[in-house]
Symmetry: C2
Subunit: 238 residues, 2 copies
DNA sequence: CTTTGTATGATTGTCAACAATCTTCTTGAC
DNA sequence: GTCAAGAAGATTGTTGACAATCATACAAAG
């Protein structure tokens, strides 16, 4: 086996023990999966992770269960964990769900009596969106603002279960969201949606907020899926 | 082996020939929670469960994680697991999410080209609904049919992630669904919704299917919450 | 009587070893 | 050369013991 980075790589004991070992390990593995250090489809073996973090397999098992709950890995009976590698169809499915639940979220906000307090923050973030949208490049800065905006809204909606589910789905699709916002043209379209949403919230128009939210997510999905298909065609033709 | 399944396609191929101990224990505990043998809020201690099933604490811990994923227990750091005891607000939140996702599901079915094959089964189940709706009593038989209907539709929608989420939410709310369908009057209303949905599916009218699904779930929610509030008032007045 | 500190038991968190199962490699037949 | 057993190694599943932390009871001080 390749053992280029053995046990000495990471010491968890120095970190604050407010979290259990399992949670700390889950956080570290989560970073690696989201950053692409662990590729989609790659197997994650308990022994290896345990050796690297200098812990036993117990906490690692539990960490992998936590990641499974987040949708970052799948665990197959007696075959261990591997990084989730969704098909285009599954990506489509997840975006469909996100579209509906974002619609619910934004409707709740638009119909909330306490929405006024939120509007200044939204205006500020959306102003930043405008600023970053036109920059050339892949728009990682833009996506960061979008993520912040979504967190702000998901938190403001006040539905705790919705927050959990949307957080999990967002983590699973952040890679594709980034892909779907990788051109200035798409970012311009995205900014428009956010501006429309802001207006709907100002007006207290729940129907409009829901409609715009769904459109926003589904457009993001369509853009991402189109690019995904192109990527696949290129790689399969090579 | 007569069916050579390529390793790359294992995303959902795992058919557990033998359930792990954790899964068996989770199933048993799940029964007890849903039947009320374990009351909401009750603590579940690893040692006790392990002793009862004559296994070690490892599989029990994992079983509790599985139940947490289903929303049947919550696990607090260093304080163990306890049966979920949602507030009325949380019940409301879960029903809101169910309403949206049932809307998505029923829209997908109504817009599916293969919906024709489903219609005879729906007709049969809904005929049974009609039969059971008018019976006096709390309508447990009626709820059984509703659960079967929902499973049928959720499966037919073909969105695997949606199936997982809706299954979990259904488990968490079955108690309240039952409460909301405990009067013949409400069951008559419910049957009407199902008949309208059937017609929308026949017509291939996705908009109508979504609208009806949301109405159905939200009516169920309102009925359940009203009864819940009455129960609380009674018990707090005593 | 309330509050604070401490001891004690209960409970979860972690570990290392063993068992069961799967994967891979070899071997052999056709 | 292809395919099918079978053996060897790798990996997950399970166990019991130990460590760390939490909850409770009780005593002492104000």
């Amino acid at each position: 086996m390749t053992s280029p980075v053995p046990a000495s790589a990471v010491t968890l004991a120095a970190l604050p023990l407010t979290q259990s070992l399992a949670e700390q390990i889950a956080a570290r593995l989560s970073e690696r999966i989201l950053s692409g250090a662990y590729a989609p489809g790659q197997r994650i073996m308990e022994q290896g992770v345990a050796a690297e973090f200098a812990v036993s397999r117990g906490p690692v098992r539990e960490a992998l269960r936590l990641l499974e709950k987040e949708g970052l890995v799948i665990i197959l009976a007696r075959r261990g964990a591997q990084v989730t590698n969704p098909t285009i169809e599954e990506v489509n499915e997840i975006f469909d769900i996100r579209a509906m639940l974002n619609g619910l979220r934004d409707r709740m906000i638009a119909e909330s009596p306490s929405r006024e307090a939120l509007i200044p923050q939204l205006e500020q973030e959306i102003a930043q969106l405008l600023q970053f949208a036109e920059l050339p490049g892949l728009g990682d800065d833009y996506v960061e603002i979008v993520i912040r905006l979504n967190r702000l809204l998901t938190h403001a909606a006040g539905n705790h279960r919705l927050q959990t589910i949307l957080g999990s789905l967002a983590v699973q699709t952040v890679r594709y969201t980034r892909l779907g916002l990788s051109t200035p043209q798409r970012r311009r379209q995205s900014v428009q949606h956010w501006q429309q949403l802001l207006q709907a919230i100002r007006d207290g128009d729940g129907d409009a907020a829901e409609r715009i939210a769904r459109r926003r997510v589904l457009d993001s999905r369509d853009a991402a899926v189109e690019l995904l298909r192109n990527q696949q065609n290129v790689s399969s033709a090579a």
